[in-house]
Symmetry: C2
Subunit: 267 residues, 2 copies
Amino acid sequence: MAHIIVVGNEKGGAGKSTVSMHVATALSRLGKTVAVLDLDLRQRSLLRYMENRQDFIKRSGIELPTPTYHELPEIDPSTLAEGENVFDKRLTAAVEGVAPDCDFILIDCPGSHTRLSQMAHSLADTLITPLNDSFVDFDLLARIDPKAEKILGPSVYSEMVWNARQWRAQAGLQAIDWIVARNRVGSQRMLNKDKMAKAVSMLAKRIGFRVAPGFSERVIFRELFPRGLTLLDLKDIGIKQLNISNIAARQEMRDLMKALNLPNVMI
Amino acid sequence: MAHIIVVGNEKGGAGKSTVSMHVATALSRLGKTVAVLDLDLRQRSLLRYMENRQDFIKRSGIELPTPTYHELPEIDPSTLAEGENVFDKRLTAAVEGVAPDCDFILIDCPGSHTRLSQMAHSLADTLITPLNDSFVDFDLLARIDPKAEKILGPSVYSEMVWNARQWRAQAGLQAIDWIVARNRVGSQRMLNKDKMAKAVSMLAKRIGFRVAPGFSERVIFRELFPRGLTLLDLKDIGIKQLNISNIAARQEMRDLMKALNLPNVMI
Ligand SMILES: Nc1ncnc2c1ncn2[C@@H]1O[C@H](COP(=O)(O)OP(=O)(O)OP(=O)(O)O)[C@@H](O)[C@H]1O
Ligand SMILES: Nc1ncnc2c1ncn2[C@@H]1O[C@H](COP(=O)(O)OP(=O)(O)OP(=O)(O)O)[C@@H](O)[C@H]1O
Ligand SMILES: [Mg+2]
Ligand SMILES: [Mg+2]
């Protein structure tokens, strides 16, 4: 049965699609069979990334390990049972359709609150939540006092995760392994960075997630999007010499993959 | 009649709420009467910013110029005319309620496609679209070829703006002054940064928006959120000496306000 990785955060621009593309590509490069689903049906950044990758492979002739993208099947609403939600049916049909043939299913969620995203969170074996290194983003996880020293209570997104956990417990499913990864972290030592690190680790203990090493703010994480590439592909396209920032980025990628602790994945 | 400034971009995390708070506060500090509306009814980052600001003013006793936040009025659906949309009614009621008493109404949009956001775009005198310095964000404005040299066609967000413009033209309203401001721009000289600058200016000519100088990636733009402050308030709270980055940030703020070309605003 495929292991389901969901990448979610209701806050816009946290880095969900970026993390999704990098984790899915890393798993493909390790020889795993990976299916990806993009639940952001209008923006479709992950689909666009995959399209650019296919286009690059076709134009360059270079065979790159690649996840396979799957659309959610259309469902005729008249076939739904009483009280059944069409989005739930589309998602479960997509997952059941690919699960037998792959090692991992990676699901990218939109930066807003949708029924599809709620449903995906309750299907997650592993949930990765990227987080900008900012209290604007932290505010969607929990309320904190103005000096950022005391957690005052959970916010809308952590409540949604809590509900997904309850649903899984009632269904007798294994608990979600919830991992929060800071993203676009600044390079210099800064007070804000230290405060964020403290606040995230305080919250981890309180609501039960693991904190993974994340990504720094590096142009290599975004500049390859037009060609559908990631920094892991650079050797295959003939770039032998990596600069310092790209070497550090590869290390950050490796550290994240290790922290995810995925079944049968040796880093 | 109040001048309506809408801050919008369907792409999550572009910097809409950050730009909204800074522009609204700058106008208040210039002695203008500013009403703010937050159309992200679930995330409410701008409301949270305003709450933190009120809380800081109360606790510190320091009088800071402050925009006034307004909720969208609840509308009883049974009072709607045939075919009238409840969200349209809530937004127009909110705008009409505050317009007589203020110089500016600033409306922050969510990072997704909603009816409220569509409606707000058609009410805009000035539309500010912040954009991360990344082709992932650019993809929501337009499709571009893999070498980022040719614009292939508009994307979902620019099509939505196009529709709002059509609507205004048919209603005999003045054209929207559409301004795109790059945000979180890296400090070093980078190929990606140059390519983005070229692509944005190419698109500006093609679909008719102005490009404003934007904000660099600076921690000062985000670290004051827990206290509801902006870098413009630092003098009032007793910080006389600004560091180099904060001086540069003030200049970026001043350049943006100048570029907006707002009525009766001298920078
Ligand atoms: N570590 C990083 N370094 C530099 N840029 C990054 C990094 N991570 C993400 N970005 C950029 O930040 C922006 C937001 O990232 P992304 O689109 O992946 O977030 P998202 O959470 O999927 O957004 P949405 O809420 O719109 O779905 C993009 O422009 C992306 O290129
Ligand atoms: N110039 C900047 N420098 C540093 N950080 C920034 C800058 N602009 C925005 N940020 C940070 O980037 C993140 C996204 O900004 P913000 O929340 O304002 O975007 P948004 O477009 O309103 O997002 P959403 O789509 O969720 O509404 C936040 O964590 C914010 O603190
Ligand atoms: Mg995304
Ligand atoms: Mg916002």
